[in-house]
Symmetry: C2
Subunit: 101 residues, 2 copies
DNA sequence: TAACGTTATATCGTATAACGTAATAATAAA
DNA sequence: TTTATTATTACGTTATACGATATAACGTTA
């Protein structure tokens, strides 16, 4: 397996993508690639999506065609907010300790 | 498995701990617990430590007693800085999309 | 318009590394 | 002598990486 040397936590990136607006899987993938230059393979992407759905953080919206758009649930929004705050605490302490602030 | 609802990326937290000063495993654990209220089990902690050592991001310092203090290598410092910057990008976009900025 | 290639969209399977949990051990301290 | 400190090891579970497959839709060109 190839070790990825950059940060990548697919589920977090997916939630952030859906925080902007409702999107189907493929559109989420494009959004993430465009914003962070991180390319999620289909297995990684849809695997993370289905776990997030199972946990109730995102849910499917009905649609006519074969696209399956998702939206962030209220629970997902709360969860994401917590995650990001925690992460900001971590990075803030990190920067201090690195002497970059 | 118990799903942890908080962010936890042991290796990142360990690197940040060592960015402040050299520490042995147990002291790293205490530092992390004190700062983020995240308690790493020994398997998680020492597993992550040995991976970080193998990748050259941290290294052991000689010591007389049974403690094994580690220090952040130059490579580890660069790596950590990158990670944190990437994470800050992610959280910053996340906050914007959540409407929290 | 028919044929063809390409992009869009999703599912599934497998391998492995990270993580969680716990058992064990040994020394130091209270 | 009981508790805290410090580390190692093993095992099970899960997330992720990677890739194969499938089909629909679209665009281009013969």
């Amino acid at each position: 397996m190839v070790k990825k040397n950059r940060f990548s936590e697919p589920s977090l990136l997916i939630l952030i993508s859906l925080a902007e607006k409702n999107r189907h899987g493929y559109a989420i993938m494009e959004d993430i690639e465009k914003n962070y230059d991180i390319k999620l393979g289909p297995g990684t992407l849809y695997g993370a999506i289905s776990r997030l759905e199972k946990e109730g953080y995102i849910s499917v919206i009905e649609s006519e065609d074969r696209k399956k758009p998702y939206k962030l649930t209220d629970e997902g929004q709360i969860y994401l907010t917590d995650q990001i705050k925690e992460l900001q605490k971590v990075t803030s302490i990190g920067l201090k300790r690195l002497g970059l602030v």
